[in-house]
């Protein structure tokens, strides 16, 4: 069990990382990573949804008729996303306004459906829950890393606090979508071309 847990986390975080290995969840990676604050809320929302939808789908896996399993999965995922949306509106109103439609779009994040189909539908609840956490964390650290660089270079701030002084010429491109493409490509290159190659896993 301990070995399995380790493998789940190694896969989610590195070997089978949803963003830079499977290239899933790219829409939100490009869209929300120009602000660290928005990114953290987004990844927290996704972590909650992927972990709990994996758990629920796994608990119901023997009862879900196979021919409507994707309908059932989407229903479960959408319900958890609506919970995130309601909680943000009630308790984190400002961030809810800033994220706007992106919270609802967690439903369409391929990572969640991907983990439901690839893992939760055929595995017991606890490993499925951990798999959701591992994939969510794998998504989280990639997005937060990209957001730190984009916000710092693009606005001179981190978490909306001024870090670089007036001397810093803001790289406007960094807060635009094109900056996200460059950052994501760099991230993939560093991870696959440098980190994994050094470890002999490329």
């Amino acid at each position: 069990m301990k070995g399995n847990t380790k493998k789940l986390f190694r896969d989610g975080l590195f070997k089978n990382n949803p963003v830079f290995i499977q290239i899933l969840g790219i829409c939100s990676t490009l869209a929300v990573t120009n602000r660290v604050k928005n990114t953290v809320v987004m990844v927290a929302g996704l972590l909650f949804v992927v972990a709990l939808s994996n758990l629920t789908i796994s608990l119901l896996r023997k009862a879900i008729p196979s021919r409507v399993r994707m309908m059932a999965e989407v229903l479960i995922i959408a319900s958890f996303v609506i919970i995130v949306d309601i909680v943000l509106k009630a308790y984190l109103w400002d961030i809810s306004k800033q994220l706007g439609p992106y919270v609802g779009l967690i439903i369409t994040n391929c990572i969640i459906m991907g983990r439901a189909e690839a893992f939760a539908i055929s595995n017991p609840p606890w490993p499925s829950f951990l798999d959701g956490i591992a994939s969510g964390l794998g998504y989280a650290y990639v997005l937060v890393s990209i957001a730190i660089v984009r916000e710092l270079l693009g606005n001179g701030t981190l978490w909306e606090i001024q870090i670089l002084g007036d001397w810093w010429v803001k790289w406007t491109m960094m807060v635009m979508a094109s900056g996200a493409f460059f950052m994501l490509a760099l991230f993939i290159w560093i991870m696959k071309g440098v980190v994994f190659r050094e470890r002999g896993e490329a």
């Binding site: 869209a31 120009n34 119901l60 023997k62 196979s66 919970i83 309601i86 009630a90 109103w93 807060v175």
Partner: protein, 212 residues
């Protein structure tokens, strides 16, 4: 999946299962929604009331939602412009002066931009500007909700003839600093504000002060 007898049994099971699952999740979501609805309503009304007071030049930062809503209820009066040209809000400020706040809305880059613009008692100077609703690109056009953007309108008169791209030009009376990388959104704000100034505010200027 539990063992089932035939095609009819399978179909019936599928329908019953999906109906049950849907009903279960709808019930949970409805209960959560009902539980949080008062809080969401307070947030929504707080947003509007805070924006009106902010546009009127009142300090809103330190007061909690309840205190702010109480201040709004005791100091703001909703009024109608002549000829059915819309609403405005007369705000009696803590220092005894009066401000007039005008709601505005218009097309942004991706969707409607809604907000409020406040003027002093003799309609010669802007007291504040706030955004209530926008669907602009987060991190770009969405930055029109940030304090640095909203605060630059205070003390100006309008209409705005130009957008400037540097901080040096932001103090000019007839222009404001655009959001870098979001020229379309900034131009949309300029156009919406100019429309409001040329219609509602011009109209209120024609109304004698004691009747405003």
């Amino acid at each position: 999946m539990p063992e089932k007898k035939g095609a009819w049994g399978k179909s019936l099971y599928t329908i019953v299962f999906m109906t049950f699952l849907t009903a279960l999740f709808i019930t949970v979501l409805s209960l959560l929604f009902l539980k949080t609805r008062p809080r969401i309503r307070v947030n929504e009304s707080y947003d509007f009331k805070s924006a009106v007071l902010h546009a009127a030049g009142e300090e809103t930062g330190r007061s909690g939602p309840e205190a702010l809503i109480a201040h709004y209820d005791s100091s703001v009066e909703e009024k109608k412009l002549p000829e059915g040209k819309g609403l405005y809000y007369k705000v009696l400020r803590r220092d005894g002066s009066v401000s007039y706040v005008f709601p505005f809305q218009g097309p942004g880059l991706w969707g409607e931009i809604e907000g409020v613009l406040g003027y002093n008692g003799d309609l010669t100077e802007i007291t504040g500007f706030d955004i209530l609703k926008q669907n602009e690109t987060p991190g770009l056009g969405g930055r029109i909700t940030e304090a640095w953007f909203k605060s630059q309108f205070k003390g100006k008169v309008g209409p705005f003839t130009a957008l400037v791209t540097s901080e040096e030009g932001r103090d000019s009376v007839n222009s404001f600093q655009a959001v870098t990388g979001a020229t379309s959104t900034s131009a949309a704000v300029q156009s919406i504000l100019n429309d409001l100034i040329r219609s509602s505010i011009e109209m209120l200027r024609t109304v004698p002060e004691e009747e405003r």
